[in-house]
Structures are given as C-alpha cells and as structure tokens.
Symmetry: C2
Subunit: 168 residues, 2 copies
C-alpha cells in the first residue's frame, strides 16, 4: 500500500459515529471495521508468502486440510463444511489444484453423488513446504502480543460459536 496515514481512519469513523448520535453502536462499528481491515492485511501477507509456491490461501487451506486427514482424502462436501466456504468455492479450488497435479478427484466408493478429493504425493510435499514458510514468515511474525493472541482466540471463538459456526 501507500504511506501510513497520519491518523487512524477507523478511529476517525468512530468519532464521526459518535458525533452523529450513534454513540451506542460506534464502538462495535469500529471493532467490526477493524476486523475487516485486519483480515485484509493478513490475507495480503499470506498470499505473498504462498506466491512462490503457486498457491493462494484458498488452495493452501484445502491442501492443509487434506494433509491432516488420515487417508489424505475428503469428500467435497466435508471440505466445504470444514473450511466453511460455499461448495462452489471448493469446486473452484479443486479444479485448479487438480490442474497443478496436487490433488485428484475420485469417486466415492458407496455414494455415487459424492466426489473424494485426494492429495497426490506432490501435493503433500508442497503442503509441507508451504506450511513451513507460513509458519516462519506469517504466523511466527504476526505482530500480536502473546496475551492478545489468547484474547483474540477467546473473543473470536465466542463470536463464531454464537454465529452458529460450531456447537462445541
């Protein structure tokens, strides 16, 4: 991006909200806007780290998920549910990973509707290498204080549970 702004645009927005008589929702507005912007920054870092591997975050997530599955294979609908994205997004990611030889589609042994995504050995190797780079370049240098990481996990975990992501 460009040079840093002289002032925090989200703090400015929060003040604008308060000034216009919406003080009761100004803080949640600021928090939500901050989540949006933080996601954008983190995604950019991740994509930069993955670029040398020809991977995007969406494709990496799918590879990583498969690499943790015992058999190295998952039904498309399972992957969609675990990654919490629309089934068409999985179709898209599998198409591209398959072109790159990192996964392949195989029919489900008993359910003719279902397609299994299988990791190839190339896919497994690339997932390992990409994870190592993400760990060292992104997760290992997140810029979050250690106790703030715990706070984020707790706060966002509660939010996601309330939003219906999981019941646990």
């Amino acid at each position: 991006m460009g040079t840093p702004l002289p002032r925090d645009p989200i703090a400015d927005a929060q003040r604008n909200w308060e000034r216009h008589g919406w003080a009761d929702v100004a803080a949640p507005m600021a928090a939500i806007t901050a989540v949006m912007r933080t996601q954008q920054i983190l995604l950019a870092r991740i994509e930069t780290a993955l670029k040398p591997f020809g991977l995007t975050f969406a494709r990496y997530e799918l590879l990583a998920l498969l690499s943790f599955a015992r058999s190295g294979a998952l039904p498309m609908n399972k992957a969609s549910a675990l990654l919490q994205v629309h089934p068409t997004s999985v179709t898209n990611a599998v198409d591209r990973l398959q072109e790159a030889g990192l996964v392949l589609r195989s029919p489900h042994p008993t359910d003719g509707r279902t397609t299994l995504i299988e990791l190839t050995s190339e896919g497994r190797t690339l997932a390992k290498r990409a994870t190592a780079v993400l760990n060292s370049e992104v997760f290992g240098q997140s810029g979050f204080e250690e106790q703030d990481v715990e706070q984020l996990i707790r706060i966002l975990g509660n939010f996601r549970r309330n939003a219906g992501d999981f019941s646990g």
Copy 2:
C-alpha cells in the same frame, strides 16, 4: 451456511499444529484463522443488510466516507487511501455508484490528473438510510461483549499501526 459443526475447526487446526511440532506458532495461526473466518461472517451479515438498498459493503463504505466529507466530495486517490483499498477498486465502486446515480465524477479544479467523486442528493439520502439499517441490524447486534469490543479495538488498532496503516 450449513448446520453448526460438532467441533470448532480452528481449535482442531491448532491441535494439529501442536501435534506436528509447530506449537510455537499454533496460537497465532489459530488467532489469524479466526480473524479470517470472523471477517467472512461479518461481511455476510453486512451484505445481507445492504442488499435491499442495492449496495455492497465496498460501495457503502465509499458513500459513507463521502457523506462525512465537509463538501461531500473527495479525490479518488484520497478515497483509496482512506478506505485502504487499491485505486482500481475505487474506480470499480465509483463506476457502479455513478450508474446508480448516487455519485458523480467531476474534474479537480486545479489538478488535471485528479478526479473528484461527488455525492448526489440521492446518494446522501441512501447513505443515511443504509447507515440506519446497518446500525440497528449489524453493529447493534454484533454479538461481541462490551468489554470484548474494547479489547478488539485496542488489539487490532495496535496491529494495524504496526502493519503501517497509520502513524498516529
């Protein structure tokens, strides 16, 4: 989306990271993944609330920004900087808002390179109405505890400053 999962997939991923010897970055990984997912949930809520107005979040943000500018007008590059998105994204948003009659482009009085985005009266009215709905349906029902909102603003504010968003 579908039904809630029986377990938190991000907590599972964190356990997987720890199990594979990446315990030192497992927590930041979980926090970052949670930010990504939370953004997705929030964006979906916002888009749902804005749909009746024919607005997307990107277009709404631009309208709101203009409505807070004294003159109701801003240079494209200024909007790009304040919204922290790529200039081409602003071009895209302005194209669509202009088609809808909510903004218009006008030449900068002194700098021939610059284009000003101006809010029309329809645009100003729609921004007001959309903001009211967002306030009541999204920001007013964020699902975040009040003290967690403060924590988020603080933690993500620090992160954004460190990331170079602003210097203040």
